[in-house]
């Protein structure tokens, strides 16, 4: 019996090797596949004076429902839709899996929505159905997390990486009088967005006004609460005269604040970075943290909603240089690759933090 199994296995192996040998001669490889770069949309003419249509139907598809951050974005977008006489709804999967948004997009096509706003879990998994939607005249706007460029007409970027990186250094510089040692508490060592921001921070620090500020270390807390806590502790032991810490991650800044608030460094070390008001409220009120930043998720939703309406009304097509009005936020211009940038991050401090709940 064992023998026969072995023989069968050997036959199978031989057959497979043969297939491999045959296939190796010629085949479809990564290099032989040409990139298809059919630019979608953008064929129609934009009419900048067209009024916003009434009764537009918008659907927000977040990475997952019940994500408090995206709920705020979507609710603000739905509220904005009511301002111009449209309606909005939020639908989405309960897990942030790569493929789970796809069936929702199909559904929205069947329901003949006027525009879909999507925060993509996977830039490519949603591509096929989104292209199908655009083919049927449904406008597609990505927000928060972009899809591949040819699968949407616009991407609403919360803030440019450069703005985030530079503004954090500028804010911290003012807080410590542009003097002293500083450190960065990041997430994981190879997180793309973190490293881009840190790159801009280092670039900003080269300017003459920062000549007395010295970046002594970039620590990695892996976006894990406990590790970020320990890394903060380690930083303070290694550099007791540290003047400031920038943590451009919501997990990192909350953990660092927790360590500092119970230590003798409270009030002596300035902590700044990207955080959420609900996580940071306590530390702002007890004086551990003077200020921190984040883009305002309500404004992100507001802008996305108006951008989708402008697309669906024919005011814009998603081409570079087109302008549209985003309600109370004023006028925006479509940038390269259909990107619309929300603007500077909002700074939260003791004065305004109680106005925000997310």
């Amino acid at each position: 019996m064992m023998l026969r199994t072995a023989a069968t296995a050997a036959t199978a192996a031989a057959a497979v090797s043969l297939a491999l040998a045959l296939a190796a001669c010629s085949g479809t490889t990564k290099d032989s596949v040409g990139k298809d770069s059919v630019k979608s949309g953008a064929t129609a003419k934009a009419d900048p004076d067209a009024p916003l249509k009434k009764g537009l139907k918008l659907a927000f598809l977040p990475k997952q429902i019940n994500n408090p951050y995206e709920k705020i974005v979507d609710d603000a977008g739905i509220a904005a839709a009511l301002e111009y006489g449209g309606t909005g709804k939020e639908v989405g999967p309960s897990d942030a899996g790569a493929s789970s948004q796809v069936s929702y997009i199909n559904t929205l096509i069947q329901q003949r929505q006027d525009a879909i706003l999507v925060a993509a879990n996977d830039p490519n998994a949603v591509c096929g159905p989104l292209k199908q939607a655009m083919k049927k005249g449904i406008k597609v706007v990505a927000y928060d997390s972009d899809t591949a460029k040819d699968c949407r007409q616009l991407f609403i970027n919360q803030a440019s990486s450069e703005q985030i990186g530079r503004s954090l250094v500028q804010h911290l510089g003012e807080q410590i009088g542009h003097k002293g040692k500083i450190a960065i508490l990041s997430a994981t060592q190879n997180a793309t967005n973190q490293n881009t921001w840190i790159g801009f921070m280092q670039d900003e620090l080269k300017l003459p006004k920062y000549k007395d500020m010295k970046l002594v270390k970039v620590a990695y807390g892996d976006d894990a609460d406990q590790k970020s806590f320990q890394q903060t502790q380690g930083l303070m032991q290694a550099y007791p005269d540290l003047k400031g810490i920038i943590s451009p991650t919501t997990v990192g800044i909350a953990a660092a604040a927790r360590y500092l608030s119970d230590s003798s460094y409270k009030g002596k070390v300035v902590l700044n970075g990207l955080g959420t008001p609900n996580q940071m409220r306590k530390y702002v009120k007890d004086g551990t943290v003077g200020q921190f930043s984040l883009w305002n998720p309500e404004e992100l939703g507001h802008l996305g909603s108006y951008a989708a309406a402008a697309l669906a009304s024919g005011q814009i097509t998603g081409a570079q240089g087109e302008k549209f009005k985003a309600g109370r936020l004023g006028e925006y211009t479509v940038g390269k690759d259909g990107e619309v940038i929300l603007g500077e991050p909002t700074v939260f401090d003791r004065r305004n933090i109680d106005k925000f709940d997310f």
């Binding site: 497979v16 479809t28 429902i65 309960s94 899996g97 790569a98 069936s103 559904t107 069947q110 329901q111």
Partner: protein, 349 residues
Amino acid sequence: MGTAAETREAADAARSGKGRAGRVRSMALRWDTAVGVLLVAVIVVGLGSTDGFGSAENLAFAFNDIVEVAVIALPMTLLVVAGQVDLSVASMLGLGSALTGALWNAGWAFETIVPVVLLAGVAGGLLNGWLVTRVGLPSLAVTIGTLALYRGLASVALGSDAVTDFPDTYARWTVDTTTVPGTFLTYPVLLFAVLAVITAVVLHATGFGRSLFAIGSQEKAAYFAGIRVKRIKLLLFVVTGLFASFTGVLFTLRYGSARADNGLGFEMLVIASVLLGGIDFDGGKGTLFGAVAGVLLIGVLKNLLTLNDVANEVQVIVTGLLLVASVLTPRVIAAVVGRRHRRAAGTPS
């Protein structure tokens, strides 16, 4: 025809002296028939009530959307009938997807990648089968282990990357926008239909199929009757691994995205479909028709509820209730029928 369950029910019917009428009634009472009826009912309600549900493109999408789960459900039905289970299938799908992506990135030809991925599936199935049949461990425990193992290997193969630029030559045959001309059948669904017919014949019309029911009902008796229990179980695990790795390639092409976390949690959908179709988890009972009806019911119901903007949480609750009903109802019916028989025979109940 010829399943142990049917034979038993036919015997029950004969004993209660109702003959053909009794047999017809027990057919109607059978859970898999009920699921089939429920499926038809859901489709009819959907067509009548929901705008867009009956469009060819929506139907193409709805069935294509569940095709990986459906394909894996076929060998899973055979496994469960034989009293086994394989929880590592979704991880094997992920491993197949990750391998496809990693090798594609490394510049391999797609025609070479597919047999290699299938071979990996066979290897994974062999490991499951070997641990169950040769080492003698319960399949539930073994495949919980390999569920983690294969998903881990998938992450090792591709990390957290996503590989995306797959050849359209193959990809377009997998998506829901390409259908068999004049129908709403996509090619993956067509392939599933062919595989389902083959599996149904194997399970219900061959000696091999009967031996699966025998193993599932009374493994010792099957062994002494000359059935090569271990060999058959091993084969079932290998076929399951093969099918699962194949769905990894299919999934990758369909979504145009190879990731280690693809198909996360699909094993539960597969098991749910099989259970819903009335395949008894104690082994030895069930029909392939039931399993197919179960998987289609889950797919169609999800599509219909989503079209009506029913929140995901509610959808999960509906599926959960259906599952509980599918386990409970046949048992309640059996208990009621059993009591009536005992009363008729004059034995104290």
